[in-house]
């Protein structure tokens, strides 16, 4: 990863404009086209230190990578059956989601949530769906986003075709 500093506002403005342009083109279906955003970061920064598909380990591994890169302060996760209730605090990309909401567009992609989903899919071969992203009120200066992930039992099997 390059160590050259660039303005976070510059990055977030670009991300917002790209997301908004994509939403304007693809509408509500946009969310399904960005489920793998973050894959390269996942391969470079998360996968090499990901040992199991245990949820606690996955969340801590993703949190550590993103903390080291100064992208967030904390990820909390509560398991509720097949649901994972994720709370991300201090995310550097929160202004993107704020601008999306201000534009009347529901946030439809989230890097930390994608990284957790990619990790669970990689280690457990279980499909994961990001069901919801909600901006949460600022809490003592710490800004948060709430995410709901759904885990599925198994990926649909593809029976091999005849040669």
């Amino acid at each position: 990863m390059t160590t050259q500093n660039i303005s976070l506002d510059y990055v977030n403005n670009l991300v917002f404009e790209l997301e908004k342009a994509f939403w304007d083109e693809r509408g509500k279906g946009a969310r399904f086209r960005v489920t793998t955003v973050g894959r390269q970061y996942f391969r470079d920064r998360v996968l090499p230190v990901l040992h199991t598909g245990d949820v606690d380990h996955v969340v801590k591994t993703v949190q550590y990578a993103l903390q080291c890169d100064g992208l967030l302060t904390q990820i909390d996760c509560v398991e509720d059956g097949r649901l994972l209730r994720i709370k991300v605090l201090g995310c550097a990309h929160r202004p993107v989601e704020e601008r999306m909401v201000a534009s009347g567009v529901p946030p439809f992609t989230c890097l930390p949530a994608n990284l957790i989903a990619l990790a669970l899919e990689e280690k457990l071969d279980r499909p994961v769906e990001l069901a919801e992203i909600k901006l949460e009120p600022t809490d003592g200066g710490e800004t948060g986003c709430g995410m709901l992930l759904v885990r599925f039992d198994k990926r649909p099997e593809l029976v091999p075709t005849k040669a």
Partner: protein, 224 residues
């Protein structure tokens, strides 16, 4: 005696008769019919005449079931996400019959709403060339042309996007079918002989859809 129609009336009849068919008899689709369907697709309008469409015909049952598994899995994920966030319940809020509502939830969250594609004797996979300005529109026009020909041939079909709407599923489909990176899978059509007639689905009144010169100015007068 055969019914006689003007070309305009026959065209409108085919358009009005089209349904989304999800249940098929085992009877195969003849090569002659399939040729006509594909020719209808080939003749669709295309920006700059780029003709970005390519079609893959799937008859092999194992392959059809693989597409069905991808489609069903994707739909199950998306509709389950809608269910756990209560969006699905909101969508069905006006359905009073609780048993029907539960059945609808089950059909959607199980993925069966899309997994039926494997039951059709033929699946047409519609692919589009990416390096073209108007690919989504061109391929959609080709799909509609094929749907109308399918209807005219007394066959049935359903336009299904479930196997490729999520990029993760599209990647699996691309790999399974060997679709090269300069093309993308746009949709699949399940084609076969319908098991039964289907009623038309409701359409919004035309006076809510058409404006006169400027957005919001009704073109048609509201019904009294």
């Amino acid at each position: 005696m055969p019914e006689t129609y003007t070309v305009a009336d026959a065209t409108l009849k085919v358009i009005l008769d089209r349904r989304s068919i999800r249940e098929f008899t085992p009877e195969p689709v003849s090569k002659e019919d399939l040729d006509k369907i594909l020719e209808a697709g080939r003749q669709a309008p295309s920006g700059e005449n780029a003709q970005p469409w390519r079609f893959i015909i799937l008859k092999d049952e194992t392959r059809r079931k693989q597409v069905a598994a991808i489609a069903g899995g994707g739909s199950s994920r998306r509709f389950t996400a809608e269910f756990v966030t209560k969006q699905m319940q909101d969508r069905f809020v006006n359905l009073a019959d609780e048993a029907k509502k539960r059945a609808a939830f089950e059909k959607l969250t199980s993925g069966q709403v899309s997994a039926f594609v494997g039951d059709a004797p033929v699946i047409i996979v519609v692919c589009g060339k990416k390096d073209v300005w108007d690919m989504p529109y061109d391929t959609s026009a080709a799909i509609e042309n094929m749907l109308l020909m399918i209807t005219a041939l007394d066959l049935g079909a359903c336009w299904v996007i479930a196997p490729c709407i999520d990029i993760r599923d599209e990647e699996r489909l691309n790999q399974m079918l060997g679709i090269p990176p300069e093309y993308k899978c746009v949709s699949v059509l399940s084609v076969g002989h319908p098991t039964r007639p289907h009623r038309p689905r409701p359409r919004l009144p035309i006076n809510q859809l058409v404006f006169d010169e400027r957005w919001g100015t009704p073109y048609y007068e509201a019904e009294k």
